[in-house]
């Protein structure tokens, strides 16, 4: 087991390198760059301070040198916590990202909890009441959830909240808490706002997991060991929860790896529609204005986050299910 974990951790290093290469490739793709247009503007307005800063940045990130030099400077910078410089915000990327990454992570975590809390009971219910009205209702809701694009759900929820409850649902905080330091009241305010994006982002994953759990549980429910447990006189609830459900939950654990990238994708577009202070809006802006270090670092961090998720789920799986052997 220990050697398996160690090997997986070692394997993480080339993955990290690959992700950094891919993101660097993406930020290099657009023709032209932000700095050139920035410099042109500075020249036009004769702003000496800006011109000097352009020179400094060019020097520091090797922007006039071949791509592999630029890549090396960027990558080695990341290793010591220097993610580059946002030309648009005139701030180091790390400062910009810190706060927003925390909220992004929080959102992903809350959504995962929501997805599990809804999908597990609904999946079990649908499997145990197969082909009843309840089962069909669950499956149908699941299908709608799967087919509805995240942004549509966000728009509809916003519209409903706006029209029928007369409240604004954009953002994660009420205006009075926007810039305030963290306090109990602010956390409470956050929770009041958090549920809409959580529901919006979570619906898709929930629908998928319900289907998987239902199918798996249906496979397990008629196996002989369930019959044995029943013959021994276990109550129906006890025997289901203790045996087949545990087996059927396996894909949930291995599913973290598949679900997390989906959640992050959903979070990106949802937070743009709901203008949340998380990853999405910043990424869109930086992509549109070719603020390449900001965009690149974001994609890089999001990818790392989901690769870490896969790693954790693999380790959990090996620990939970002794039948899985990794030589």
């Amino acid at each position: 087991m220990t050697s398996y974990i160690l090997r997986r951790l070692l394997y993480f290093i080339p993955t990290l390198l690959a992700i950094s290469l891919v993101t660097f490739f993406i930020i290099q793709l657009p023709p032209g760059d932000f700095l050139t247009s920035f410099e042109a503007r500075a020249l036009a307005s004769g702003d000496q301070a800006d011109l000097e800063r352009v020179e400094q940045l060019r020097e520091r990130y090797g922007l006039d040198q071949p791509w592999y030099v630029q890549y090396w400077k960027w990558f080695t910078g990341i290793l010591v916590g220097d993610f580059g410089y946002s030309f648009q915000w005139k701030q180091p990327v790390a400062d910009l990202l810190g706060q927003r990454m925390l909220l992004t992570f929080l959102l992903a975590l809350a959504t995962t909890v929501f997805v599990w809390a809804v999908a597990i009971p609904m999946g079990i219910y649908a499997a145990m009441r197969k082909n009843t009205v309840g089962d069909y209702a669950v499956s149908f809701t699941g299908f709608i959830g799967l087919a509805t694009p995240d942004f549509l759900l966000a728009l509809v929820l916003m519209w409903v909240a706006f029209f029928y409850f007369d409240m604004s649902v954009g953002g994660l905080f009420s205006p009075e808490f926007e810039g305030a330091p963290w306090s109990m009241a602010k956390v409470w305010d956050l929770l009041g706002h958090l549920w809409i994006p959580v529901v919006v982002i979570g619906t898709n994953g929930t629908a998928g997991l319900i289907r998987i759990l239902r199918a798996n549980l249906l496979d397990e429910l008629h196996k002989p060991y369930v019959e044995t447990a029943r013959a021994k006189g276990l109550t129906e609830w006890h025997l289901t929860a203790k045996h087949p459900v545990r087996v059927a939950l396996n894909p949930f654990i291995s599913g973290i790896g598949d679900t997390l990238p989906g959640l992050i994708s959903g979070a990106t577009i949802t937070s743009i529609v709901l203008s949340l202070p998380t990853a999405g809006p910043l990424l869109l802006q930086s992509l549109l204005s070719q603020d390449m270090y900001l965009a690149g670092s974001y994609i890089f961090l999001l990818s790392i986050l989901s690769v870490l998720g896969v790693l954790i789920s693999d380790i959990l799986l090996a620990w939970l299910d002794p039948r899985i052997r990794y030589q």
């Binding site: 993955t15 690959a18 992700i19 891919v22 993101t23 993406i26 930020i27 793709l29 657009p30 023709p31 299908f143 709608i144 799967l146 087919a147 509805t148 694009p149 995240d150 942004f151 549509l152 728009l155 509809v156 916003m158 519209w159 706006f162 029209f163 954009g170 790896g257 598949d258 997390l260 990238p261 989906g262 992050i264 994708s265 959903g266 990106t268 577009i269 743009i272 529609v273 990853a279 990424l283 869109l284 992509l287 549109l288 070719q290 965009a295 974001y298 994609i299 999001l302 990818s303 989901s306 690769v307 998720g309 896969v310």
Partner: protein, 392 residues
């Protein structure tokens, strides 16, 4: 039966009704059993597919939408790009078929517009005095049917060409929403197919190599697949499509987006193909082909590929909706297709902010069609997947 045959002529024994019924049922079963034994695999699949009612309905829905896409020019009552300043945000004009409690020829009501002094917005009310008769195959703006024949006959519209009826209302620039949706169907459905086709090429090639060659090559390809699957696709799609130069002509952008969507989407296909190849490599019929001297290429294309084509079709169908949603999301964000191309995502850009949706709720209708398309593809894929293994 034998007893009956041994009886003298003309003396049919009187069987009780339920026994007769049972016998008939047995005979029917036997007949269909013999048919099953001799039916081709495609026939078996069709029988299995037919049992899946939802899949059949979905097939019909998608068939209808594809017809709409093909004949978009004739079905759209108006040119989807013509702007009209006196119809900005005009509400839908419903078509009535009942007047004073009696069935009548379909008609719509005209619109009366006033300009609100305060917000300077155009306000509309249905004008109950102005009755517009609808007609089939009416004369409208000239267009080229299928890009070939010059004509000006449109499937339906106001029978008097001078009057306009927007069944789903108009957008910000006064363009007819229904006509725009009809044209969007063409782009959105085709981009789904095109992206999946590219994914198919990539997936079958790489998955095939991975499963057939095995060993170190398999290792490398599998790591790449895992890697791509672990990266959240939307941010990456966003990054890639942000790199498409703004100066490119619409058609290039269309293909570039297709490519972007398929670059990350081939992994699922590769997994399916690899799994099938691995399972099949050890099958007796492959060994038999090899022993009788078939070349590698013949084994792959003549013997292995046909036996899992149905699985490929099923899983392809299940990936199309993901591509369609991807395009819709990208265009919605302004990173995908752009005017003058009309896709569902482009249409939904107008519904991006809550204010627009509040003043003109009909702008959200295109999203409902997207939902229908995605659900239909999912059910169809489910049905195909069940049918793909008719012996199961």
């Amino acid at each position: 039966m034998d007893v009956a045959r041994n009886l003298p002529n003309g003396m049919q024994p009187a069987l009780p009704a339920d026994v007769a019924e049972e016998l008939a049922a047995l005979e029917r079963e036997d007949a269909s059993g013999r048919a099953v034994a001799t039916a081709s695999q495609w026939k078996l699949m069709w029988w299995r597919f037919r049992k899946h009612t939802l899949a059949k309905v979905s097939l019909a829905v998608l068939g209808f939408l594809f017809l709409v896409a093909i004949f978009a020019d004739a079905i759209a009552p108006y040119d989807p790009t013509v702007t009209q300043s006196n119809r900005t945000y005009a509400p839908p004009q419903p078509i009535y078929i009942i007047e004073n409690g009696r069935l009548t020829w379909p008609f719509a009501l005209g619109l009366k517009s006033t300009i609100d002094a305060e917000s300077l917005r155009r306000m509309y009310v249905l004008d109950h005095e102005q009755r517009i008769d609808m007609g089939l195959f009416v004369q409208g703006e000239p267009y080229r049917l299928l890009g070939l024949f010059e004509t000006n006959t449109r499937l339906f519209g106001a029978s008097n060409g001078a009057q306009q009826v927007s069944v789903l209302g108009s957008d910000r620039l006064g363009r007819d929403l229904f006509s725009r949706m009809v044209h969007a169907t063409r782009i959105s459905l085709s981009i789904g197919l095109a992206a999946v086709f590219v994914s198919l090429l990539l997936g079958v090639t790489l998955g095939g190599i991975s499963g057939y060659v095995g060993g170190r090559v398999d290792m490398v390809i599998q790591r790449v697949v895992e890697f791509i699957d672990a990266i959240p696709s939307l941010p990456l799609w966003m990054g890639l499509s942000a790199a498409i130069p703004l100066t490119w002509p619409p058609l290039w952008v269309y293909f570039a987006i297709t490519l972007v969507l398929s670059l990350l989407g081939w992994t699922g296909m590769a997994r399916v193909v690899r799994g099938r190849f691995l399972a099949m490599r050890e099958e007796d019929f492959v060994m038999a082909a090899r022993v009788s001297g078939s070349g590698e290429r013949r084994i792959i294309f003549r013997h292995m590929l046909p036996s899992f084509v149905s699985h490929i079709i099923a899983s392809l169908t299940l990936t199309i909706p993901g591509r369609i949603l991807g395009e819709t999301s990208l265009s919605f964000l302004g990173l995908g297709l752009k005017e003058p191309i009309i896709s569902y995502g482009v249409l939904l850009q107008d519904a991006q902010n809550i204010r627009a949706v509040a003043t003109a709720p009909w702008l959200i209708v295109p999203a409902l069609v997207v939902v229908v398309i995605v659900i239909a593809y999912n059910f169809l894929g489910d049905g195909l997947r069940d049918a793909a293994d008719p012996y199961a």
